[in-house]
Every structure is written in C-alpha cells, then in structure tokens.
C-alpha cells in the first residue's frame, strides 16, 4: 500500500428509510462488522447517556441494541457500555431509573459507571479493551454547534477549576481544557469505529429537550474509523464549516486525524447533494426570549455561557406560570453586564457577574421623601409661618438580588437557589421541576467495583 493510500481514510454516509437499515448500510459500506470485531474481543462502546430524559438526549437504545447484537454475532466476548452524564446526574441514578443494565444484560452487555471513575480509570478501560467504538447522537449544542463524536469521549462536568487565578476570561479555560483533555485522550486511544447518528437530530435548542427543541428527520448516519474525519464530514453535511469548529481546529493543530477533504474517501451517499440546513441554538443569550425576563450579558467565559444557556432554557421551558407571578426579573451574566432596567429580582449568574457589578446602581435602593423636621414644626406653631420642607434621601441595600456563585455555577445549585429565592408560593412550576430533578440527583451513590475490562 502506498503512503498516499495509507493517508486516505474511509467515511461512510448512509441514507435509508429507517435508522436500523441506515446503520446496517454504514457497516456494509465500511466492510462489515467483521472488519472491526474479531473472535473473543472485549469491546467498549461509548454512548451518550446524559440525563434520564428520552431520545435524543441519550443515544437511541434501538441503535445500541443493534450494535451489541452485531458485535455479539461477530464473536465479541465482552461488551461494555459507558457514558458520562451531565447536569450533575450520576449514571448510576440514570440506570436506576431507566434500567439500562436490565435491558442490555440479556443481550450480553454491561453498563459501566464512568463518572464514578477517575480519568486514569477511563484510560485503563480504553487501553485494556480490544476495540473501542463510539456511537454518538448528534444534536445542536451551544458551545460546539453540534454534539460531535469527539465530544462524546469526555465529561464536560469533570472540568474542575480549583485554581481561581486560572479562571479568567482571557484564558477561557473551560472550553480550552475540554478540547485539550479530549484530544489528549484521543492521542492515547483512538476509537476503532465511530458512528454519528443524525438520522433524527434535535435542532432549535439542545442538546437537552427544551420548549424550543424540535426533532427533525434527516435519514442520515455517518461512520468511519477516524473520529476527526467522521466529525469533519458530519459538519459538512450539516452545512457547517469544519475548519471553524474549535475541536477540528485543535485536532488539525495537533495533527490528530484527517482534516483534509482530499484525504477522505466518502462511501455511499453523495455529500454535496445530502447537505441539510439546521436551526442552530441561540448563540447570543440575550436572544433567548423569556417572558418577563430581562437578560443582560457582559463578556462571558464559555463555562458561564454554557451553563447560563441551559439555565435560561430551563427557565423558559419550566417556569411559564412562575414568570407571570414573578412579573419581572433580570439575569446578569458575565463580566460588566449592562445595568438592569428594573431593580427587583436581579439574578447575578457566575463570579464574573457578582464581582463586576458590586458598584452598580441596582445594589442600593434610594428612597427620598419630603419631610418637616420636628423643631421646625414647633417653631412654625409660634411663628405662624409655614415650615420649609426638606428632602430626605435614604439609601439601603437592595435585598432583591440573588447571587449564583461559581465559574461556572452548577446547574442544580442554580435551580435550587432560584427556587429558594422566590419561595414556593411564587414558583410552583419550578418547584415541581426541582422535585423531579431530586428524584435522580439525590439518590445515594454507592460505588460498586467494576468487573471486566
């Protein structure tokens, strides 16, 4: 094989009448599952299990089931599934609710709880398995435009910023760290088979289900053995310039994967004629229109932007009645946001907003009234003259300000703080949402030792 042929990677695009036929066509185009699975292989499949919501927040279970079955058929001995969750929900809690293990165990697979492990343990799993597959659900994402297969391999919540010095806008470590950790992992173990499932794709708002979210049917899936190339082609299919995507840019800089269209051999459906147009997430937080809510943003780091995006969409989706009761609130996000128009219910989201608005006018309430000093009143009785009124101005601290600290603040604590601040009488809808959230966030987590890989 010449060097040129070696550099060419195959990426399959399939378009069929149902998701399972599309998946099968991808495998056929790539040479069949036998090309990827050998007898007695231990396989680790990375999927999306983000929260106990339905599809497309999580990877389609029909697709997972098909992949497990095809791996088993090809002779795989052990199949492990793994995912990181988000919004602070443990995978074990999601499993307790959705009974994923109960469903996949009879098929010969097991779900691992990656979020209970350290990064090194994940590496251990990846390096000890014979094959590493990624089955990724593509949805719109506020930070990277789409949830790409490369993002699937790392937990965005695992980014810890213990050093406050590092948390500044200039460095914007949240996104950079995420990209860098992802690519570090990729350098150590590249997946052997990658599948981007965009047969059904969430547009408008995502990757969780919000009121602006809508599922569209594209009939498409993209697969291959080079994650960067698969994501590159996926972005092309979604009419997005891959060379503007931070993940692809970093991969290109570090020479990971194929980012040159000339070196990608597309098998199956024609790329140019299959391009689809999608409604992106609202890029500007101020564009998220929420009833009775004024959103002001300053310079926002990617972490705060990411969390604020989810918080604002949650407010929009689950606080319909509450927003009428509250009758006006302002969200200030990022460094030096503009002064809010009304001084009541000011929510400062994140450390940047809290620190940079200390001297803002909304922090103090100024009340003034005309009054006559007592001495003047007495004098006026004897003088029979009308006393002069004087203007008395009082300054007091505005108590209708809620600070949500953190960079970025966590989603769950933000919901709790907002619901506690307004009180249960004011926010009945949010109270129910909070109760629902607690069904999967408060369960005791007992770390169970894994077996297998």
């Amino acid at each position: 094989m010449s060097q040129l042929e070696k550099d060419i990677v195959n990426v399959a695009i399939a378009k069929r009448d149902n998701p399972l036929n599309t998946y099968n066509e991808i495998l056929t185009n790539l040479g069949g599952i036998g090309k990827f699975v050998s007898e007695n292989d231990k396989i680790f499949i990375k999927v999306n299990i983000n929260s106990p919501e339905g599809f497309p927040v999580n990877t389609s279970f029909a697709l997972i089931k098909s992949m497990i079955k095809s791996c088993k058929k090809a002779g795989a001995s052990n199949i492990f599934l793994g995912s990181y969750s988000s919004k602070g929900v443990k995978i074990r809690n999601i499993d307790n609710l959705l009974e994923i293990n109960e469903s996949i165990n009879p098929l010969g697979a097991q779900l691992l709880f990656l979020d209970e492990d350290s990064e090194f343990e994940l590496l251990d799993i990846l390096q000890n398995c014979d094959k590493f597959f990624v089955v990724n659900q593509v949805n719109v994402d506020p930070l990277f435009d789409y949830t790409l297969s490369m993002m699937n391999s790392f937990d965005i919540n695992n980014l810890n910023f213990n050093d406050p010095m590092k948390q500044n806008l200039e460095n914007d470590f949240y996104k950079k760290n995420f990209v860098s950790k992802l690519l570090n992992l990729f350098e150590k173990r590249k997946p052997d088979l990658i599948l981007n499932d965009l047969y059904y794709l969430m547009e408008g708002a995502g990757p969780y289900i919000y009121s602006d979210s809508k599922l569209i049917k594209t009939d498409l899936m993209v697969g291959g053995n080079d994650a960067v190339a698969v994501d590159f082609i996926t972005l092309k299919l979604l009419d997005n310039d891959p060379l503007e995507n931070p993940l692809i840019i970093s991969a290109r800089e570090r020479n990971i994967g194929t980012t040159d269209l000339n070196n990608i051999n597309i098998i199956g459906v024609d790329l140019e004629t299959s391009i689809i147009h999608i409604n992106y997430c609202k890029k500007n937080l101020e564009e998220i229109k929420i009833h009775n809510c004024d959103i002001k943003t300053g310079s926002t780091c990617s972490g705060c932007y990411h969390m604020a995006y989810h918080l604002l969409n949650t407010v929009k989706t689950y606080m319909t009645k509450d927003l009428k009761y509250i009758a006006g609130q302002s969200f200030l996000i990022g460094k030096n946001p503009p002064e809010p128009e009304i001084k009541k219910n000011v929510i400062l989201f994140g450390n940047c907003a809290i620190n940079s608005t200390k001297n803002y006018g909304f922090n103090t309430l100024i009340t003034s009234k005309e009054s006559i000093p007592l001495l003047d009143k007495i004098k006026s009785i004897f003088n029979r003259k009308k006393p002069n009124k004087i203007q008395i101005t009082k300054k007091r601290k505005n108590k209708q300000v809620l600070q949500i600290p953190g960079c970025p603040p966590t989603f769950n604590s933000s919901i709790k703080l907002i619901s506690d601040y307004h009180g249960k009488q004011q926010v009945p809808n949010l109270l129910l949402y909070r109760n629902l959230m607690e069904t999967y966030t408060l369960t005791d987590i007992k770390k169970v030792k894994k077996e297998g890989v």
Binding site: F55, N58, K65, S66, L98, Y210, L215, N435
Partner: protein
C-alpha cells in the same frame, strides 16, 4: 340499489324539507324521522335546524350538490347512478333529480385529478340542467353495499352494535377511499389522517372497550343555539345504551334561564343535566377538524387551552344541575383552610398545556415507542395491548402489540417489557393500566356533579398502586408520582393547576 329502510327515511326528510317553506309554523309539526344511517329518531324540524347549522360549518357552505355512485369495476363509464340536489340552504336537501346516465361520464383515471373531474361534472350539469353545483359526493358501489348492509341491520341492532358498525363503516369507507367529497371538507381530511394513525386498530374496539367500562348513567346535555334548543339525553342501563334528542319548545331568552334545568332533570328522571351553547361547541369542534393530524404540539397546546378555558367558565359558558359539589363555596373555603386551593374557576388554562407537554417531552423523549397494556386484574386478562409512537410530542401512530409470548397471563410489567424489548426494534416504556382505574376515572367524569377532593384523592391513591398503574422503566415524573404521598402530591400539583390570581 339503495336500501329501502334508508331510502324511505331519506325521502321523508326530503319531503319535510320541501314543505317547510310552505307551512306556516313548521316547528309545530310533530313529525319524526331517523338521523340518516342511525336508528335514532329525531324531530324532523330539529334535524332541519341542526343540518342548517352544522352542514355549512363541517361539510360545505355552498349551494347545490351532486351525488354520484361509481362501479367498482374498471368499465368505460364508471357512473352507475347520479343525483342532483338543488340546495338553496347549504345541506338542506329537498328534491333529488335523477341524472341520465350520459350526463356524467367518469373513467378510472379521472379520479386521479378530482379537481378537473369536478369542473367537468359541473359543466355537464350546467349544460343539462342549468344548475351550478358547488360540491360533489362520490360513492363507490362498495360503500353503498356497506351502507346498505348497515341499514338492513339497523332494526335488529342494539345501540352499541349500531355504534360499532357505524364506526367500522366510517373507518372502512374513509381509509379505503370509498367515499370522495369535493371540495374535501376539513372533517373528512381530519378523519382520514386520524384513521391513518390508528393503523391496524378498529376504532369501534376502543369505543366498545370504554363504553363497557362505563357505569350506568342517565344524563342530558341541553344545547341552545340561535333559534333552536334541544336536549340530548344519553343513558346506559345494564349495558344498554340509549340516545334521545328532544326539542325543547322554549324561547331563546328562556333557554339561558337556569331554572329550566331542574325541571328537565325532574321530568326525565336524570342524574344531572348540563346546559351549553351549541355554537360554542360547533366552533370548538370545527377548530379541531381544521388541524392537521398528527396535531403539532403548539396547536395541541392551543386546543387544550381553549378546552380548559371552557371548563373553567362554569356559570358563564356552561351550567350544570345539580351544581357540582366542587364549586361549593363553603367546601372550597374549608379545603383552603387546610391548604388545598381547589377553585376550578381559576383553572390555569394558559399554563397547564404548555407545562404538561414540556414535561411529557422531557420524560419520554421526542421520539418514543410506548407499549400500553390495558389489563383486567379480576379476569386475569389483557383487554387491549397497543404500541404508541410519539414524535416531537405528538402521537403519530398506534398499532396493536401482538406478542402472545409477552402477554401470556404475565402481569409483571418488568417481565413484559423485557420480552417486548427483546423482540422489538424500539421500545422505551411499558405502561400498564388496569380497567378498574379507568372505571373510577370514567365514574368521576360522568358523575362530575359529585366530584370532591376525596374522590380525586381516592383515584390518586389507586393510581399509585402498581396493581392499577405501573410504568417500566421509571421516568422521573412517574418516580416522583410514586414516591410522594397522595396529599403532598395534591399540594404540589394544585398550585400549578389552579391560579392564585385572575390574569
């Protein structure tokens, strides 16, 4: 070609309609006819008035119509019979003019372009009879045969048999395109799309199932419209249903007077009577029929908002006698004292649909397959097993879940789900509901005047028992529902359902 029983009744209707203009007080005529295709006897004047009101809204508001019967075989001219009705008032058929066979000629291919065919027929009739028709009804011979056999059995059918047969007839005719109306009314398109959701399921089966679960009742709905008022009396006693339409001879002003309701209730020995404006009902129904099925979530939200607004408008848009206990001020006050605000006049019609749909979407997902099992614990039997497919929050498909292995006298939701999951490509949840719970809910709806917070509490408690309601795997909403006590659940939900202020 047309069944005699049907034809005689139809001719009677035509005769009454043609006489109505020449008789001084037609409302005083005590003439009865059957509603076409049903065994239900109705005052002919009431039927005239209802047709005048309903036909233009639901079918066609234009004058003059042609009925064409087509052969099922591919012959040179498919037309077997054709009739022309000159209708000065839309829907009021007076005289059928039999058209000669050579007036209209239709070939099989003509049916592919119905718009063009209509223009052709319209031109032919103008030329022959000088009447411009504005709509056509095409019946294939198979539809006539089905209708004939339905009409033949009307005399011996019980009410339930008649209803099942009528629903089957409608489903078959619409699904198989045996009846074509042009211009196609919204109701026809709506039904066509609705039946396509019900894939391989007979609507009559679902009707029979819910009807059999209903307790005995005798209620009436008193409708008043512009110049007609009538009572629709519905009754079920020992599995025998009865529907009766009684024209009320009251002046429109009196119609709104609540004092009539106790009198009608007493005279007919009813359990309860509801009074509402027919025009409001018609306009709500026509809004439903305007929707494209599957109904999109934002449209569904609007419809639900309107329905809930109607429900909360007690005493303004509708009245009930006896007055529902739940509206009793003293009872409400006492409940308020112990922390339950249950004022249905402040039902949060604007909030509930959006919030509920958002919660449903996040819990089941935007593309989910749910198996719904209706069990009968007493008989150790499955009443019905369905597969529901939801897409973007809308129900897009309902099919039969025929898996004898999974349903083999096994009532364990988890085991059933596992068996189904093994054999099916896609299954997210299995929901098991027992008929006893449905019976309780139906009882609650039918005896609305007696509904109290204790009855709601009883239903909630029942629903928390896995014997009556179970979901596998748990969704966060169902887990919360199970984990909270019925009282704290009511305390959590009532502030969402009921508004604090009027908006």
């Amino acid at each position: 070609m047309i069944n005699r029983y049907f034809k005689d009744n139809w001719n009677k209707i035509l005769k009454f309609n043609s006489n109505i203009e020449i008789i001084e007080n037609p409302e005083l005529l005590n003439e009865f006819v059957r509603i076409p295709l049903t065994p239900i006897q109705i005052d002919a004047f009431l039927l005239y008035k209802l047709t005048e009101l309903i036909y233009p809204k639901f079918i066609n508001a234009q004058q003059n119509i042609a009925d064409i019967i087509l052969s099922d075989y591919d012959i040179d001219n498919l037309v077997l019979e054709s009739y022309l009705y000159e209708t000065k008032i839309a829907g009021i058929h007076k005289k059928a003019i039999h058209l000669q066979n050579d007036v209209i000629s239709i070939k099989k291919n003509d049916l592919d372009d119905i718009e063009n065919l209509f223009t052709k027929i319209q031109d032919s009739i103008i030329k022959e009879n000088g009447i411009k028709i504005m709509s056509i009804r095409i019946f294939k011979k198979r539809a006539i045969d089905l209708m004939n056999s339905h009409c033949e059995n009307l005399k011996k059918y019980s009410f339930n048999e008649f209803m099942s047969n009528l629903l089957d007839l409608a489903q078959k005719c619409i699904e198989k395109g045996l009846i074509i109306l042009y211009p196609e009314p919204d109701i026809m398109r709506f039904m066509k799309e609705l039946f396509s959701i019900f894939h391989d399921i007979k609507i009559s089966r679902i009707y029979n199932l819910f009807n059999n679960l209903c307790p005995s009742y005798k209620h009436a709905i008193y409708f008043n419209a512009n110049d007609v008022s009538f009572t629709c009396q519905i009754e079920k006693e020992e599995n025998i249903n009865k529907v009766e339409f009684i024209r009320q001879v009251l002046s429109p002003k009196e119609d709104l007077d609540e004092s009539w309701l106790p009198q009608i209730k007493e005279e007919n020995n009813l359990e309860s009577i509801i009074s509402m404006d027919l025009n409001t009902v018609i306009s709500f129904l026509s809004e439903i029929f305007e929707q494209k099925v599957p109904i999109e979530t934002n449209q569904m939200e609007l419809l639900l908002q309107k329905f809930l607004f109607g429900l909360r408008s007690f005493d303004t848009h509708w009245k009930m006698f006896p007055r529902p206990k739940i509206y009793n001020t003293l009872i409400r006050y006492l409940l308020r004292l112990i922390g339950f605000n249950i004022n249905l006049r402040k039902l949060s019609h604007w909030n509930i649909p959006e919030y509920a749909i958002n919660l449903l979407n996040s819990n089941i997902g935007l593309n989910s397959h749910i198996s719904l099992l209706l069990t009968n614990n007493r008989n150790n039997d499955f009443q019905i097993t369905l597969l529901l497919h939801f897409l973007n929050g809308s129900l897009v498909k309902i099919t039969n879940a025929n898996n004898t292995r999974a349903f083999n006298k096994n009532f364990d939701t988890k085991e059933i789900h596992s068996s189904l999951f093994e054999t099916m490509d896609h299954l997210d949840f299995t929901v098991k509901v027992d008929v006893e719970l449905i019976k309780e809910i139906e009882k609650c709806i039918l005896n609305m005047h007696e509904v109290s917070i204790f009855k709601l509490y009883k239903i909630l408690k029942m629903a928390k028992n896995p014997k009556y309601l179970d979901v596998y795997p748990n969704s966060p909403a169902f887990k919360l529902f199970k984990s909270k006590s019925s009282l704290s659940l009511l305390k959590l939900l009532l502030p969402i359902i009921i508004d604090r202020h009027e908006f």
